[in-house]
C-alpha cells in the first residue's frame, strides 16, 4: 500500500499536464495500412457529427499485434477499439474479451456484410468485430508482358501454367522477374502465403486428431514446387520479401505476376504510385485441379474490448467507420477505386463500383474462399491461411522461419519440414492437444 502511494505521488509530479482520459475520447489502436490511415483523415467528420473525440495509436502490424494482445489478455483497458483480424476475433470472442456487436442500428444493415467476412469475425454466430475491409488473394499480372510472352492468362489458371508463364516472362537483363511471391518469415507474411498455397496441393496443417502433417508428401510437393519456381523466375532475395516489398517491385515494373492480397489491386492500378498501372490484369489464385484454390480470406476489423468505459461511443464509431456512408464518403473524394473493399455486399452491387477493373475478380476470390473447409482433406480447424487456435501464431511464425531459410538456400526442404514437424508437435503437446 505504501509503495503504491509512493509511486502514485511520483507519478503525480510528472503528470501535471496529463489529465485523466477524457470521458468523450476514444482511443483506437490500428494498423498502418493505407485504408486505415485514410480513415484517420476523415475522423474529423465523425467528431463533428457526434462530439466524440478520437485518439489514434497507429502501429506497424507486428507491433500492433503484440501491443493489443498484451493489453487484452491482461485486461489493461488501454484501448476502446482495437483493430484486429480474422485470426484473433473468434479466439478472443470465445474468451469473452470482446463486446458482442449486436443491437446495431437499422441503417447500418448488418446483413449487408459479406457472409464470408461476418462468418470469420464471429464466434458461435455472434459478431465480435466489424470488417473495415476484407480481402482474399488473387493473381495480378502484367498484360503487356503476358502478350510479349505469347501466352494468355485464363480466369482460373493452374499452378503448372503459372510456372510456365513465369519462366516465359522472366527477363533477367531487363530486371523483370516472372513471378513475385511472399517468402518473408512470419505467420501473416510468407506463412500465410505458403499455407494458402499448400491447400491447393492438398496439404493441411493438422489432421482430425490435431497431428501436424508436415511429414506428408503434399507439404514437400508444395515447397518443392514453390522453391523451384521462385529460383527459376523469382526476384533475388525473395526470402525476405513480404507484401510491401513485392508491392514495390510490382509497381516498379519488376514483376510479371504477383499473387497476393486483393486490396493490392487498387495500389498497382493507381497511376500515381504505379509505373505499370495501365497494364495490370487479374485472375483467380491458381489450383492444381484438386478442388481447392490457393486464395486466402482475411479482414481487418474493429472490435471493442470488454470492460471499456465507452462501449456506446465505441459502437457509434464502428458503425460510422464500417458503414455504407463511409464508403460513399471516400468514393466521393477519392474515387471508387480507393474505397475500403471486401466488406459489404452492396458495394459489389453498386454499378459505379462494378466499373472498377478489379471489383469482380475480388468478389469472386472472396466468394471462393471457405474458412470452414479450407483444404482437400478434412481438418479440425477453421481458417484458410491459419488455424484459429491460440497456439497457431507462435508455431506458424517459427515454421515459416524454417521455410524462409529454405528459400535463402540455407537448408533443404526435407530438413525444414522435419524441423517444422518436430517443433509443431512439441508445441501442440505443450498446449495439451
Amino acid at each position: 500500500m505504501y509503495l503504491r502511494n509512493a509511486l502514485r505521488a511520483a507519478t503525480a509530479m510528472t503528470l501535471v499536464a496529463t489529465a485523466a482520459a477524457n470521458a468523450d475520447t476514444l482511443t483506437i489502436a490500428t494498423v498502418n495500412n493505407g485504408d486505415m490511415i485514410r480513415m484517420q483523415g476523415y475522423t474529423d467528420k465523425f467528431t463533428e457529427a457526434t462530439g466524440i473525440d478520437v485518439e489514434w495509436v497507429t502501429l506497424e502490424e507486428n507491433v500492433l499485434r503484440q501491443r493489443v494482445t498484451t493489453d487484452i489478455t491482461t485486461k489493461g483497458g488501454t484501448f476502446d477499439i482495437m483493430t484486429i483480424g480474422m485470426y484473433e476475433t473468434p479466439i478472443w470472442g470465445a474468451n469473452g474479451w470482446l463486446v458482442p456487436l449486436d443491437g446495431l442500428s437499422e441503417e447500418y444493415d448488418v446483413g449487408d456484410i459479406l457472409p464470408a467476412m461476418a462468418g470469420g469475425l464471429s464466434h458461435d454466430g455472434t459478431l465480435f468485430a466489424a470488417p473495415f475491409y476484407g480481402e482474399s488473394s488473387m493473381i495480378m499480372y502484367r498484360t503487356d508482358l503476358m502478350e510479349k510472352a505469347g501466352m494468355e492468362m485464363p480466369d482460373a489458371p493452374t499452378w503448372q501454367f503459372i510456372k510456365e508463364a513465369a519462366a516465359a516472362m522472366t527477363d533477367r537483363d531487363a530486371e523483370i522477374n516472372g513471378i513475385c511471391l511472399r517468402g518473408k518469415a512470419g505467420w501473416g507474411e510468407g506463412g500465410a502465403f505458403i499455407t494458402a498455397m499448400s491447400n491447393s496441393f492438398g496439404a493441411r496443417w493438422f489432421d482430425e486428431e490435431w497431428k501436424p502433417q508436415f511429414d506428408q508428401p503434399e507439404w514437400a510437393d508444395t515447397l518443392n514446387f514453390y522453391v523451384e519456381m521462385m529460383n527459376e523466375s523469382g526476384p533475388a532475395g525473395y526470402a525476405t520479401n513480404g507484401f510491401n516489398e513485392n508491392l514495390s517491385l510490382f509497381q516498379q515494373g519488376k514483376c510479371g505476376m504477383w499473387i497476393d492480397a486483393t486490396v493490392a489491386a487498387s495500389f498497382v492500378t493507381n497511376p500515381n504510385d504505379s509505373t505499370v498501372a495501365d497494364h495490370v490484369g487479374f485472375a483467380l489464385a491458381p489450383d492444381t485441379g484438386l478442388g481447392k484454390r490457393s486464395n486466402w480470406l482475411w479482414a481487418w476489423a474493429l472490435a471493442i474490448p470488454a470492460g471499456t468505459q465507452q462501449e456506446d461511443a465505441a459502437k457509434q464509431f464502428i458503425e460510422w467507420a464500417t458503414s455504407k456512408d463511409y464508403i460513399e464518403l471516400v468514393a466521393e473524394s477519392e474515387g471508387w477505386a480507393n474505397v475500403p473493399p471486401g466488406a459489404r455486399t452492396s458495394l459489389y452491387e453498386n454499378p459505379e463500383y462494378q466499373k472498377v477493373p478489379f471489383s469482380k475478380m475480388t468478389l469472386d476470390s472472396i466468394l471462393s474462399a471457405d474458412p470452414n473447409s479450407p483444404t482437400v482433406k478434412p481438418v479440425p480447424y477453421v481458417g484458410i491461411q491459419f488455424a484459429a487456435i491460440p497456439e497457431f501464431a507462435g508455431i506458424a511464425t517459427q515454421v515459416s522461419q524454417e521455410f524462409s531459410a529454405v528459400y535463402a538456400g540455407q537448408q533443404t526442404v526435407e530438413e525444414a519440414l522435419a524441423k517444422a514437424q518436430a517443433f509443431t508437435a512439441e508445441e501442440m503437446e505443450a498446449a495439451g492437444y
Binding site: 509511486l7 484517420q40 495509436v57 497507429t58 502490424e61 503484440q66 501491443r67 485486461k75 489493461g76 514495390s248
Partner: protein
C-alpha cells in the same frame, strides 16, 4: 610540449580521418538526404545524390499523419524526467561510495550493473500487470520511474568515477572549517563535480531517449514518445523510403542536435573512470 608533425603527415591524417568519419556518418546523411526526395527519386536507379529538386512534401505527410510535437514533448519529458530523478537518487549514493568506501562498495556497484541484465521481454507481463494495478499504464510518470530504474546503475557508476577524482583533502579541509555534510555536498562537491554531472545527465538523456521497448509497450496516446511515433512507419504499403526517412530524421534530429552542441561535455562523460 606538442608533438611536432610534418605537414605531409598531417594532411594524410586529415584525409584518412575525414574519409572514415564521412563513411560512418553516411547512413545518417543518406537518410536526411532521402527525406527531401520524392518516393520515386528515393528508389531511383542509379541512386540520385544531390541533383534533385528538394521537397518538404514528406515532412508534411508525416506531420499530417501524426502530431509530431506531442511525441516530441513526451520524449523530452520522459527522458528528462527520468534523468533528473535518477541523478537526484544517484548523487548521494555515489558520494557515499566515493568518499566512504567500504569492502562492499565495489560489490554493490557491480551488483547494480547486473540488474541491467534482466531481459526486458521476459518481464513484460509482470510489469504490465503491475502497471495496471498501479494505474500507471500510458502515463509519463510510470515511464519516468521505469527508465530511471533502468539507467540508475549507469548513473551511479558514472558519478562515482567522477567523485573519486575529487581529492579527499579538499573535503577534509572544509570539514575542518566546520562545514556540515549538506554544505559539503552542496557547496564544495557539487560545483567541482558539475562537469561530471553534466556529462552523466547527457549520456542518460540519450539512453532514455532511445529506449524502445518499455516506451513502446507501456504507452498508447498520452505518454507515447518518439519511439512509438517511428513504430508506425516501419512497413506501410507502397513506396515508403522517403517518408520513412522523413520520420526517422524527425525522430533523431533533436537528440542529434543536442548531442552535437554538447559533445565536449559528453565526451568527458563517456570515460566511466577509464582514465586514471
Amino acid at each position: 610540449m606538442a608533438r611536432t608533425v610534418t605537414t605531409q603527415r598531417k594532411t594524410l591524417n586529415t584525409a584518412l580521418a575525414w574519409a572514415v568519419g564521412l563513411l560512418i556518418f553516411f547512413p545518417i546523411f543518406w537518410t536526411i538526404l532521402t527525406s527531401f526526395k520524392t518516393e520515386a527519386q528515393a528508389i531511383a536507379s542509379p541512386p540520385i545524390f544531390l541533383n534533385f529538386e528538394w521537397t518538404l512534401e514528406n515532412y508534411a505527410i508525416v506531420q499530417e499523419r501524426s502530431d509530431y510535437m506531442r511525441f516530441l514533448w513526451n520524449s523530452v519529458i520522459i527522458a528528462g524526467g527520468s534523468t533528473v530523478l535518477g541523478v537526484i537518487v544517484a548523487i548521494p549514493a555515489a558520494w557515499a561510495m566515493a568518499f566512504v568506501p567500504s569492502k562492499r562498495t565495489k560489490d554493490i556497484l557491480l551488483w547494480m550493473l547486473s540488474t541491467k541484465m534482466l531481459p526486458a521481454v521476459g518481464v513484460l507481463y509482470p510489469i504490465y500487470l503491475l502497471f495496471i494495478q498501479l494505474g500507471l499504464l500510458d502515463s509519463r510518470g510510470g515511464l519516468v520511474v521505469v527508465l530511471m530504474l533502468i539507467n540508475l546503475p549507469i548513473i551511479v557508476w558514472m558519478l562515482y568515477t567522477y567523485f573519486r577524482e575529487i581529492p579527499g583533502e579538499i573535503l577534509e579541509a572544509a570539514r575542518m572549517d566546520g562545514a556540515t555534510l549538506k554544505e559539503e555536498i552542496l557547496y564544495i562537491l557539487t560545483p567541482m563535480a558539475i562537469p561530471g554531472i553534466a556529462s552523466t545527465v547527457l549520456l542518460n538523456f540519450i539512453l532514455a531517449w532511445n529506449e524502445a521497448f518499455w516506451t513502446l509497450n507501456l504507452t498508447a496516446v498520452d505518454a507515447a514518445p518518439l519511439t512509438a511515433f517511428i513504430a508506425s512507419y516501419s512497413s506501410p504499403e507502397g513506396l515508403f523510403f522517403a517518408k520513412l526517412s522523413a520520420a526517422s530524421t524527425m525522430a533523431i534530429a533533436p537528440i542529434l542536435i543536442l548531442g552535437w552542441f554538447s559533445q565536449k561535455q559528453l565526451v568527458r562523460g563517456l570515460t566511466f573512470g577509464a582514465v586514471k
